[in-house]
Every structure is written in C-alpha cells, then in structure tokens.
C-alpha cells in the first residue's frame, strides 16, 4: 500500500505531481522550474494548508493512469473537472506563492498603498473630461407617466 502523508497525499502522488508540474512549468526565461521551488513538496503543503478541500480531488485525479502531461491534463479536464481544477491550483498555486518566483516577476503580493488625494488626476490636467462634457447629455429623457403593465414580458 502506498504510504500516505499526514496531509492526506502520498509519496506517489507527490512524485507524479512533481513530474507533471515540471512539464507544465519548466525552467525557462530566467524562471525556475516548478520542482525547484518545491511545488510537490513544501509548496504543496502550503497549498493544502490553505485549501484542504483539494486533497480529495487531487487523490482522485492521480488515481488515474499516468500519461503525457498536457494530454493527461486535457483528458482530465473533460472527464474530471474537479480533479483538473485541483491539479492546476496545486501546480500554479504552489508556484506563484513562492517568494522567489514573485520577486522575479516583480509582484510583491496584494499590499496597502495609501490613496494620495492631493495629486491632481492626469485626466483633469489633460482635459479629458472636457470632451465628454462638450458632447452634452448622454441619457435619454423619460416621461413621469407610465404605460400599463403587461402580464407576460420577455424578448422583443
């Protein structure tokens, strides 16, 4: 029987995920491969700690026979959408929550950035609203009086 880690995913699953993840996200363009940042190891632990609901669909997905990565994934998308989503989130979620990956992308995560109310908006300086105002009213006038209601309403 396959050893199963305390988090509910086994070693075999991690091995297959690592192989798949490196085919989806290999080292290239100055970016590390998925396995370089531990997508099937420490980063999978991180993903599953945030999303324990992914354990079951991941196990179901990797209970299927292995195959060439992209073809295997495309087939999974059709036959097991929940498993497909779980695999993508495990790979992509693990990779893009890694600090070094984010640094190389120039993405520091969502962060506070106080509004600067004293700055005059560029659109005011450039007079962009003037053109809108010069065109005048852009809504249709409507009467206060109303028509009688119908009992069935739908497409014209």
């Amino acid at each position: 029987m396959e050893p199963v880690a305390e988090d509910g995913v086994g070693i075999e699953l991690r091995l297959r995920l690592r192989e798949l993840a490196d085919e989806l996200i290999p080292a290239a363009d100055g970016m590390p491969a998925a396995s370089d940042v531990g997508v099937a190891d420490v980063q999978l632990d991180r993903v599953l700690a945030a999303r324990p609901d992914l354990v079951a669909p991941l196990r179901a997905a990797f209970a299927r026979p292995a195959g060439a990565a992209v073809e295997w994934l495309e087939r999974l998308a059709v036959e097991d959408p929940a498993g497909y989503e779980a695999v993508l989130l495990a790979v992509v979620g693990g990779y893009y929550t890694d600090r070094e990956v984010r640094r190389r992308l120039g993405y520091r995560g969502q962060e506070p950035n106080p509004v600067q109310p004293e700055i005059i908006p560029n659109y005011v300086e450039e007079g962009l609203l003037d053109a809108v105002l010069e065109r005048g009213q852009r809504y249709r006038d409507a009467p206060e009086e109303r028509s009688e209601p119908t009992t069935q309403a739908g497409d014209p």
Partner: protein, 538 residues
C-alpha cells in the same frame, strides 16, 4: 411551535444592503426593530488580502458562490438549469461584504422601458421619485465619484472625490477621448479621503474578498452599528423558515431556526423581507399556508418568476506597458455609458454599462485565460509576464429583460443545513441578451485596441457572474401581475414588505446596489410616515 416569542414593532429578515438601510433608519427614528440574519458578523481580521495564499482562498473560502463556500450558514442553490451561477454572502453586511463597490444609478429610461422601447414593463416609480433617496444613500454608503456626469440627470455630486483611476484606465480614457466616446471616473462606495473616523482606501485590490481596511461600505460597518446604538437587535445564526399569518390575514411575525437546530418565533407588527431575490422568493414560497397555497402573497403567481441576473461579459486587453493592474479598487476605475441607451440601428433594445477593472495577481494570470487558452511548457513564463500587471478588463453588464420562465422554485430534494428545501434556478440567457452582449463585446474590444491593447481575451456570458439577483417579487400597481406595490408592500398582506432587489420590474444595465439601497430608503421613510395608519395583527 411552542413557547413565548420576542416581539418588536418591525422584524427584518436579512442584514445586507436593504435590511441595513431600513434597520438603521427605523431605529434612528425610535422604532423598535430586530433583524434575523442566518449568517454571522464578518471578522475583517480573517479577510485573506494580506496572505500570500490570497488567490487560492478567494476561490474557495472567500468565493462569492454559496455552493463553493459550502458554509453551514449558506444555503445551497441548485443552479444546474441556470446559465449563470448565483453569487451572494450570508452574514451581517450581506453580499456587500464581497462586492466590488461599484456604486451607480439606473437611468431615467430604465424606469420606462415599456413606454420608450415597447418591451417589458414600466416601474410604478420614476427616477425623479428615487433621486432624493439616491442622494441620501450616497451619503450613507460613502459614495466616491465625480459630479456632472452627462450620462445622468443633474443632481448632488457624490459626497467624496473619486478614487485614483490608475495607469490602465488613463490609457482607456485617452482612447475614448480619441474615439469621441463617453467615459467618466467610476463612483465607488469606498472612502476616498479622510472623513471622521472612517478608514480610507489603501488600494489592496481585494474588494471582492472583504476589505481588510474597512474602507469599503458594507452595512456591518455603515448601518448596523448605528442601528444597534439606537436599540436595534441583530440576531445572527437565525434562519427564517416561514412568515406567519394570523386569522386576520396579516403577518404576526416569523418562525426561525438557529443553526444549532433550536426552533424560535419572533413576533412583529411589520415584517420586512430583505433576503435578496433568491432568498426572499424562497421564503415566500416556503410560507405557503391556507389562503396562500402557492406561496405567501403569490395570488399573481409571479413570486419567484421574472428572475433577472444581468448577462455579463468580460473583455480583457493585454498591454505592453506595466499598468500595475493588480492594484487599486476593484469596482470601477472608469465607466462608459456610450452604448447604454437604445439605438434603433441595432438588433436589440436597451444596452449595457461598462466598468473598467483590474485583473488580479499571478495565479489569475497563469490559469487558463478567460478565453479558455492554456499555455504550458517554456512559453508559460512569457504568457504570465505578458498578462500580470499589464491587463485591464471591461466588465459589461447587459440589461436582462424579464421572462416569466426564468425563475426560482423550491428544490424537491436539495436542502440546507437546517433541512429546509433549497432554491432551484431556471434561468436561460435569451437570444436578445446574447445579441446585446455580442455588440458590446465588439465595441469594448475596439475601445481596448484604441487604448493600445495588442491582445484581447473575451469571456462571453460569464457563468460565475450572478451577483445581481433581481425581479422575483416585482412591484406594480396591479395585484394580478405583481407582488408588492410601489412602496414594497405586499398586495395581499398589508404589513409585509419587500425591500431587496426582488422588487425590480426591469433590471437596467447597471450594478443594482445603489438602486436597492435607494428603494429601501424610500420604503423606510414611508414606514415612518405611515406608522400610525399601518394595519397590524391584533
């Protein structure tokens, strides 16, 4: 049901936008009010924005879909026969907790669709009747925007200046200037400058997963604390099972269950339903009783029918420039009403409002695109770099014409955590809606190309876009084809009111929250003015 019940003058079901407006207004005017809310007070300390796993959490624990969240306080919705999945939040503040903050009004023509365009129905009220309440709720919800927009009638400017529009929206604004098309800074219910003790937006860019700063208006912050200060009660974890009628045919209160399973009763002189167009319709149907065998106040047969959800499309432009497009408020950087009104040269009537929004972080950029494109292998990195921070989306809200066949019914098998029948949706986007979206998608693509986008991703009729739940207890003057009158009062039960989006006669093509709040404000004032004349059960 046995045992004694609490009693208040007014009982509100649902602590979201409309319930909050009514609850606060009544409490501040000395009326004893209680609110039953099946969810709980949200805890901003748990909002996921600061966490590296934010994008993962937003797809489950902080999803807008009750089916995906699956919390005990949520109720499941059978949406297998619906083109659009419903979105909502069950808790104090309601769906405002997870909404984008896009705060816009319907236009005068939206209230006269039958008169002007020969389809659907006119509302029994007009824009001018609602305008004072729009202006009042602008204040209550910290509307931040710019006055004198020529796409709407003159009136008071929003109380706060607009939020920064950012680099991407500036590019699009310049493009619209070249095209000669309307654009305007978006109005958002987000505190944009220091105002009393309120927190100012710090542009987390996570409005739809809760604002950790507390700068986005939601009634857990803007209304219920003030209501409670004036004596209102908010009872959480309380799921209403039915509205109870007395021998006189008037409502005597409601029965509810706690999420621990205890059965309770709450008596009231007036019952106000504010549970959104799915929850309110469900409750009316669950409240069937002798004399109301097809559901309470449903002599017309339209309770649950005419469900409208706004067919929605997303058109995303990919630019060469770093626009930092994971930053800033999510609601609307800028808006365009260029194609909002009917144009006889098109093959549809009515139109859509556009809101320009940021596009999120790297997980969003890496997953299959809105067009369904997956890029793996070595090119994956270029694909992500091309999109992350370099894209902006026009969100297109198409007017959804009412159709009796689009409806909420009670599911025969699916139940919530209290064992109550869940709602089931039957909703199909019409060919008319699809034509409308196709036209707007083409124009929005033109807008983004003019702004310099070198790639356009389109998601037509986005499934997970059902935030705007409208129309299932429509207002009207004729009890034969409407559920409530122009004051939200049920034709058949004189002390039962509906104040949420259920009452909408038509949908308009804009985000509805401002209109929902304005209508609730109008009803609240009426309840206060007519208090002495209100018939109540003895």
């Amino acid at each position: 049901m046995s045992g004694s019940a609490e009693k208040t003058e007014v009982l509100i079901v649902g602590a979201g936008a409309s319930g909050g407006v009514v609850g606060r207004r009544l409490a501040e005017n000395g009326i004893r009010v209680a609110c039953l809310e099946q969810g709980y007070w949200p805890d901003p300390a748990t909002y996921p924005a600061p966490r590296p796993e934010y994008e993962l959490l937003s797809r489950k624990q902080w999803s807008g879909s009750p089916n995906i969240r699956g919390l005990r306080e949520d109720y499941p919705v059978d949406d297998a026969e619906s083109d659009i999945a419903p979105l909502m939040f069950n808790g104090v503040g309601g769906s405002l907790v997870l909404y984008a903050g896009d705060w816009c009004r319907m236009r005068p023509s939206d209230f006269r669709v039958r008169t002007l365009d020969g389809v659907a129905d006119d509302w029994p009220i007009s824009y001018s009747e609602l305008q004072p309440h729009y202006e009042r709720t602008d204040l209550e919800f910290d509307a931040a925007g710019l006055g004198d927009d020529p796409s709407m009638p003159p009136g008071a400017s929003p109380p706060l200046p607009p939020l920064p529009i950012g680099k991407g929206a500036l590019r699009v604004a310049r493009a619209h200037t070249r095209l000669g098309w309307h654009w305007w800074p978006g109005t958002n219910s987000v505190v944009s400058v220091a105002r009393g003790s309120k927190r100012v937006c710090v542009q987390w860019g996570t409005c739809m997963q809760g604002c950790p700063e507390g700068a986005k208006a939601s009634t857990d912050l803007t209304h219920w604390p003030a209501a409670i200060e004036h004596g209102a009660q908010v009872i959480t974890g309380a799921r209403v099972t039915r509205v109870v009628l007395g021998p006189s045919g008037l409502a005597t209160g409601v029965e509810y269950v706690t999420l621990d399973g205890a059965e309770r009763r709450h008596d009231a002189d007036v019952v106000v339903l504010a549970a959104n167009a799915i929850g309110t319709a469900r409750l009316l149907l669950l409240s069937a009783c002798p004399g109301h065998s097809d559901g309470l106040a449903n002599g017309s047969g339209v309770v649950g029918r005419r469900l409208m959800v706004h067919p929605f499309a997303n058109v995303t432009g990919i630019f060469d420039e770093d626009l930092e497009s994971w930053r800033g408020h999510v609601g609307a950087k800028i808006v365009s009403y260029e194609f909002y009104e009917t144009d006889a040269s098109r093959d549809f009537v009515r139109g859509a409002k556009w809101s320009l929004a940021p596009t999120g972080g790297p997980i969003n950029a890496a997953l299959p695109t809105r067009a369904g494109e997956s890029v793996w292998g070595a090119p994956h990195h270029a694909h992500v770099r091309e999109r992350l921070g370099r894209s902006m989306s026009w969100g297109i809200f198409g007017e959804d014409l009412p159709d009796l066949e689009n409806r909420v019914v009670l599911d025969r098998t699916l139940v919530d955590s209290s064992g109550l029948p869940a709602p089931k949706l039957h909703y199909r986007a019409s060919e008319h809606s699809r034509r409308l979206l196709d036209f707007h998608i083409d124009r929005a693509s033109e807008s983004l190309r003019e702004a310099g986008a070198h790639l356009i991703d389109v998601e037509r009729l986005m499934r997970y876009s059902g935030w705007h739940l409208l129309g299932t207890a429509r207002m009207g003057c004729d009890p034969a084809n409407s559920v409530v009158d122009a004051w939200g009062r049920a034709h058949e039960v004189e002390n039962l009111y509906v104040v949420d989006g259920s009452v909408f006669v038509t949908s308009g093509g804009v985000n509805p929250t401002s209109t929902i709040a304005a209508f609730a404000s109008r009803v609240a004032d009426r309840l206060i003015e007519a208090r002495r004349d209100q018939r109540v059960a003895i």
